[in-house]
Amino acid sequence: MRYQSFTKLAVAALAAAAVVAAPAAVQAKKLKVGFVYVGPIGDHGWTYQHHQGLLAVKKAFGDKVETTHVENVPEGPDAERVTRQLAQQGHDIIFTTSFGFMNPTIKVAKQFPKIKFEHCSGFKRAKNVATYNIRYYEGRYVNGVIAGKMTKSNTVGYIASFPIPEVVRGINAAYLGAKSVNPKVKFKIIWVSTWFDPGKEADAAKALADQGADVIFQHTDSPAAMKLAEQRGISAVGQASNMKAFGPKAQLAAAVNNWGPYAVARVKAVMDGTWKSTDTWGGIGAGMLNIASVHERIPADVRKQAAKVQADIASGKFHPFTGPLNKQDGKQFLKAGEKASDGLLAGMNFYVQGVEGSLPK
C-alpha cells in the first residue's frame, strides 16, 4: 500500500544481490531473523518504525540472533524473489512488512514449510504464515479527544488517502473521540487520492487551514501537513511516527507504531518451539501503539482526560466503537452498550452519524 517508483526496482535488485553475497555464517545455535521492508529506513514513517522492531529483537536476544533486512523492496515480483532468497539462506523467521507482500509471502511459505513467516497487515494465513497489525483507530480516538478539546474553531481537518476500511475507520474513530468531548465539533475531510505526494498534501492542508480548520489529521505518508500547520500556527496530529521535527509547536501528539514487542515475542516463540500461525491485531493495550510526545502546551486536565481514555482502551474497559452508534444516514449499527466486532471494523465502509459529506466509493 505504499507508493512505488522505478528506483525501488533498481535498489531492490542491488539490495537483493547484497543479501546473496553476504557470508552465510553457519553457526548452528544462532536464530536467523529476516525483515523485508517496502520503503527506506530513512522514511521516518512506516519502514522506520518496522526497523525499530528489528532493533528491539537484536537488543532482546543479542548474540542468540542474527538479523538481516532488505530495504526498498517494491510490492510485486521483487518481493517474492527477496523473500525466497532470505528463505534459501536459512532464515528461521521472516517478517514481510507491507500489505502488497501478502501473496508473495504465501507463495514462498508453501515452498519452505519449516520456515516461519510473519506478514504485516494482510488477511491470508497458512500453517507457517501468521499475520499481525496494529489497531491504529485506538490512537486516532485518543488523539480525537485531544483535538476536540484543543480546537477553537470547532473545525478539524482530515487529509485522507483512499476510501478503504482502514482509512474510514480512522476518520470515524477520530470523529467519535472529538465528539465525545466537544458536541459542536465538525470534520472537514479532503480526499487526495494518493498515499504520498508532499506537494498535494501541503496544498490540501492549506485548503483546510484556509477554511478554518485549526487541527489537522492526516492519513497520508509525508509530514507535509505537519510542516504547514507549523507555518500557519495551527495544530496537527502526527501519523505513524513522531513528526515533532516538522512541527515542534504544531504537533499535539503522535500515534506511533511500536512493532518491537510483537517481533520479540514471535522470535522467542520460534526459539522455544511454541510458534503457531496466529492472527494478531494489537493496539494500545498490547503495547503496539504508543501515544507519543503529548505537547506540554495542552492544558493538564485535557492531557489527563486523554490519558484516562488511553488507559481505558488499553485495559479493555472502553472500546472506541461502543453503541449506541448510528451510520451517517441514521441507521443504527451498534445497539446501546454493544462493542464493534473485529469483522465489522475490518469491513467498515460507512461514516458514522455526524460526519458530513459523502464517502467516495
Partner: protein
C-alpha cells in the same frame, strides 16, 4: 474575500513548479530537442536545492545549487543525444529513472529534516494592502522569477536574433547548419537552460512549497510540465496559463471538498487532467495551426552533412 485571496495564493504556489519546468522544456523543444527527463531533472534539483539550503542556511545558495544540478543533468542528456546521437525519447526516459534514483541516494541523510520559510517580497505599504497586497506584492521571490522567465523566453524567441536562430534550428536544422549556425552548440545551450529551469521547479517544491525533502516528492509534476508544453502549442504565455489552470483546478477541487460539495473525490481528482485534455482538444481542433507551431525537427537527431 480573504478566503478567495487565500485560494488564489494556493493556486500560485501549486502552479509555480509547473511554470518553471514547462517554460524550460518549451525552450528546449523550440530548438527541436525533446527531453523527457524533466521529472528526473526536477527531483535532482529538489534534493540539491534542499540539501544546500540546509547546509548553508542560505536560500540563494540553495536555489543556485538546484540550477546547477538541473543543468548538469541536462548536460548529460545533451552529451548522449547531441554528441553521441542517442535516441532522445529513450535517453529522456532513462534520465528520469536515473534522476529519481540519484536523488534518493543523495537525499538519504536529509529525510526528516525541515527547512525554514523562504523569504518573501516585502514592500512597505504595498505588501500590506488589504487583499491585493499579499497576492501582488507579498509572494516569495521565486514566483516573480517564474513570471519574469516566461516573459523573457517569450521576448527572446520573438524579438532577438538568438531566438530566431534557435527557432530556425528547431524548424530545419540542416538548413540552419548550411548557412553556418552551430546547431549542436545552440542545442546544448538551450538544454542547459531547460535543465536549470527544471531544477528550479524541483527546488520550489522542496524549499518553498513543502518545505522538506522526501524521496520521489515530485510525484509526476515533470510529466505534467511536458504535457503543458504541448497544451501551450509551444507558446510561453499559454504555458503559463496552462500551469495556472492546472494548479487552479487542483486547489479548487481540494477546497470544494472542504466545503462539502457532493461530488465523488475521485472525479474531482481527475478534473485538472480532464480540463487540460479538454482545452488541448479545443486548441488542436485547428490542425494546421498545431502543425505550424510544433518545431518540425522535434526528436530528429542532427548529424552534420559534410
Amino acid at each position: 474575500m480573504e478566503l478567495i485571496v487565500n485560494i488564489l495564493l494556493g493556486i500560485v504556489i501549486a502552479a509555480t513548479p509547473l511554470v518553471f519546468a514547462a517554460i524550460g522544456e518549451l525552450a528546449v523543444e523550440k530548438s527541436g530537442v525533446l527531453n523527457l527527463g524533466v521529472e528526473g531533472m526536477m527531483i535532482v534539483g529538489a534534493i540539491a536545492g534542499f540539501s544546500v539550503t540546509i547546509e548553508t542556511g542560505n536560500y540563494l545558495a540553495g536555489v543556485g545549487a538546484a540550477v546547477v544540478a538541473g543543468a548538469l543533468m541536462a548536460l548529460l542528456f545533451g552529451f548522449l543525444t547531441q554528441s553521441l546521437l542517442a535516441n532522445q525519447v529513450a535517453t529522456g526516459l532513462a534520465l528520469t529513472m536515473f534522476g529519481l534514483g540519484l536523488a534518493a541516494l543523495l537525499g538519504q541523510d536529509y529525510s526528516g529534516k525541515a527547512a525554514g520559510n523562504f523569504p518573501k517580497l516585502d514592500i512597505p505599504v504595498l505588501s500590506d494592502l488589504p487583499l491585493v497586497g499579499a497576492l501582488l506584492f507579498g509572494q516569495d521571490y521565486l514566483v516573480y522569477l517564474s513570471i519574469l522567465l516566461v516573459i523573457g523566453v517569450s521576448w527572446f524567441f520573438r524579438k532577438t536574433r538568438g531566438g530566431l536562430i534557435i527557432r530556425a534550428i528547431g524548424e530545419n536544422h540542416d538548413a540552419a547548419h548550411a548557412i553556418g549556425y552551430p546547431v549542436v552548440f545552440y542545442r546544448y545551450l538551450v538544454l542547459l537552460f531547460g535543465g536549470a529551469c527544471a531544477g528550479l521547479g524541483g527546488a520550489y517544491l522542496s524549499v518553498v512549497q513543502t518545505p522538506f525533502w522526501a524521496e520521489g516528492m515530485t510525484a509526476g509534476r515533470g510529466w505534467i510540465a511536458l504535457a503543458l508544453v504541448v497544451f501551450a502549442a509551444w507558446r510561453p504565455g499559454r504555458a503559463l496559463l496552462g500551469a495556472y489552470l492546472f494548479g487552479g483546478i487542483t486547489i479548487l477541487q481540494l477546497h470544494s471538498q472542504g466545503f462539502g460539495v457532493e461530488v465523488e473525490a475521485q472525479y474531482l481528482s481527475m478534473l485538472p487532467y480532464l480540463a487540460t485534455i479538454a482545452v488541448l482538444v479545443i486548441i488542436s481542433s485547428d490542425r494546421l495551426k498545431v502543425k505550424l507551431n510544433a518545431p518540425a525537427c522535434l526528436t530528429q537527431p542532427f548529424r552534420a552533412a559534410t
